[in-house]
């Protein structure tokens, strides 16, 4: 069992997951492809015998709160939450930009894993790379997941929040179809999440 905390969210991975890594915090990433300008990495990668999970987390709730607070004071929102908005961004990205970020991180993560396997002889990176290279021919699954909290169009309260997740799901499928279109998921703890073998807990007070 491996537990990873990302902001207020806690992801508990069951025993079927052989490798679970906070990829953007690993030495393999930092010493490897991180040095290449423009390359970005996913938050969590996990590998079981028959599935590779590529997980990106976006928590817009703090930003929503800040925005609401600023708006209540009659000011434009200035500060942005760490987990929601990327460096250099002034506000929450639109649908296409948001899924484009995730798609770039998927590509950057795959490139980083292959590089780590070749150049650093990192054992788990080699296993990921082999799995990803052969998953189609071996009929194994790559699951790309964007986990969103406080869906930004409506601060998570819109009646359309659920259908907005559907829109993002379809957009993300389009961006990562070169790798996998089944399954691609955009999940949130507000909608019944189904991430097999993973328990997600929200620790936000």
């Amino acid at each position: 069992m491996r537990t990873i905390a990302e902001g207020h969210l806690r992801f508990e991975f069951g025993p079927e997951w052989k490798h679970v890594e906070q990829w953007d915090k690993t030495p393999a990433f930092k010493a490897g492809i991180h040095g290449v300008d423009g390359i970005r990495a996913l938050d969590i990668i996990a590998l079981s015998d028959d599935e590779c999970l590529l997980l990106e987390i976006k928590d817009f709730r703090a930003q929503n709160d800040e925005q609401a607070s600023d708006e209540a004071r009659g000011r434009r929102a200035k500060r942005r939450s760490k987990h929601a908005v990327e460096p250099g961004e002034a506000e929450a990205p639109g649908a296409d930009a948001l899924v484009e970020q995730v798609a770039q991180k998927v590509a950057g993560t795959l490139a980083g894993l292959v590089g780590a396997a070749r150049m650093q002889d990192t054992r788990y990176a080699g296993e990921f790379a082999r799995f990803l290279a052969a998953h189609r021919s071996e009929g194994r699954k790559v699951r790309v997941v964007l986990w969103i909290e406080g869906e930004p169009t409506s601060k998570g309260k819109s009646l359309r929040a659920k259908s907005n997740l559907g829109t993002l799901t379809n957009s993300l499928k389009r961006k990562v179809q070169w790798l996998s279109h089944k399954p691609v998921q955009v999940l949130s703890s507000a909608s019944p999440p189904t991430l097999p073998g993973v328990t997600v807990t929200d620790t936000r007070p």
Partner: protein, 416 residues
């Protein structure tokens, strides 16, 4: 008085008096009314040559001798190629045997592509016409597309290198290519004909039919109506008598969800359609327009006009239909395809397309059962066609683009 005679005697008298071709008035003189003529057309006993003029189908002497509808093996539409036709400079549709979904903005030629394939296939529906296949296909295109002054040249894309339109259709054991020039009205040519298509084609237009059905066939035959002939064809198909006996369990299971949505069975009486809802008999025009389209499909299946090996062209099944019913439509489309009916549909609907794609992505259906086609305008104004097994694989998807735009619109608090 002719009413005391048997139907076969009336047909015999008509044939003896007027030979193989006759008019509506001559038929009436032999005691054969316009509705009976229409039913005979639907049965394949006679063929309509032009407004008010018919001919006997070769070899059809009586009902008992009528050949059964040909139903050889699977006959999906395999290929449609359009060159300088409408908005297409060169477009190729490689269809799957199951559900083929055409998406694209308005004006990208979805309906035109379907009508082109339908016109050619339908022109062969009843064979052995003395007029020849080229004349029949030409006439069918004119009747379906209704170009001004009946000039097919108006369908030619007039761009650089244009001037001649070509349309090729290939299906199981059948191929046909036609061409025509935009200037010369006598340029129509049919080449590369190989055998006859198998199965028949039904086109369900975006406007519903069963409410307008009453009197439409007679009116279409008697007056110069501006409706495309697909309306007439499909009304004639609706007019066919119900198949005898209980439909098999597969068909019953297929129709059950549609009948649930309709709230009862569909039937025709004295030239008018009704939906029986419990004890109440509701005239078709009192049923909502979206449901009437479902009723049309139900009746076409019930009367045997749409069955295994046939092709269903369905333009915007979602039109006027509550989105909640889209799951029923999708389930029905998939089940119909599994039963051997090939489907080509044009749609703008997010729910219908996404549901079908999810079934394909998760391999709930066979890989070749669903295929998506994207029709998108290029900078030159011509339309390009691409296809993929799922929505995600399409190079252009205006439905999803609009949903993304809606997401962004909401994100910006309603500021464009």
């Amino acid at each position: 008085m002719t009413s005391g005679r048997k139907p076969d005697e009336r047909w015999g008298e008509l044939r003896r008096a007027h030979g193989s071709t006759f008019t509506t008035a001559q038929a009436k003189g032999s005691g054969i009314s316009a509705p009976v003529l229409t039913q005979a057309v639907a049965r394949g006993q006679i063929r309509r040559l032009e407004r008010g003029r018919y001919e006997f189908v070769e070899g059809d002497k009586s009902a008992s001798q009528r050949p059964a509808k040909r139903r050889p093996g699977p006959a999906p539409l395999k290929l449609l190629e359009l060159e300088n036709f409408g908005v297409f400079e060169h477009a190729k549709f490689e269809f799957c045997p199951g559900v083929n979904v055409l998406i694209g903005e308005n004006g990208t030629g979805k309906s035109h592509a379907m009508l082109a394939a339908y016109s050619i296939l339908r022109a062969f529906h009843r064979d052995s016409s003395p007029r020849g296949v080229a004349a029949r296909v030409e006439e069918k295109l004119k009747a379906v597309f209704k170009p001004e002054d009946r000039r097919l040249g108006r369908l030619v894309r007039r761009a650089r290198g244009g001037g001649t339109a070509r349309v090729s259709v290939e299906s199981h054991g059948f191929s046909c290519e036609i061409s025509f020039n935009h200037q010369d009205p006598d340029s129509f040519a049919l080449v590369n004909l190989r055998r006859q298509p198998t199965g028949s084609s039904i086109f369900v237009p975006s406007r519903e039919l069963i409410a307008m059905y009453e009197g439409f066939i007679g009116a279409y035959e008697s007056f110069n109506l501006s409706f495309s002939e697909v309306y007439y064809d499909t009304c004639v198909a609706l007019n066919a008598p119900l198949s005898r006996g209980t439909r098999n369990t597969e068909v019953q299971a297929l129709l059950a969800p549609l009948l649930d949505a309709l709230g009862g069975r569909v039937f025709e009486k004295s030239g008018r359609f009704y939906v029986q809802q419990g004890q109440a008999k509701l005239e078709a025009h009192l049923v909502s327009e979206g449901l009437r389209k479902l009723a049309t499909i139900v009746h076409l299946i019930n009367n045997g006009s749409l069955e295994r090996n046939d092709i269903l062209f369905w333009d915007e099944p979602e039109a006027n239909l509550n989105p909640a019913l889209s799951k029923i439509v999708v389930h029905f489309l998939v089940e119909l395809a599994k039963q051997g009916v090939q489907i080509v549909l044009a749609t703008h609907d997010y729910s219908v397309t996404t549901r079908l794609s999810i079934l394909a992505e998760n391999e709930i259906v066979e890989p070749e059962l669903i295929r998506f086609f994207s029709l998108a305008k290029t900078k030159s104004g011509a339309v390009e066609v691409s296809h993929a097994p799922t929505l995600a694989g399409l190079s252009a998807n205006p439905i999803l683009d609009e949903h993304e735009a809606l997401y962004d619109f909401e994100l910006r608090g309603g500021v464009a």
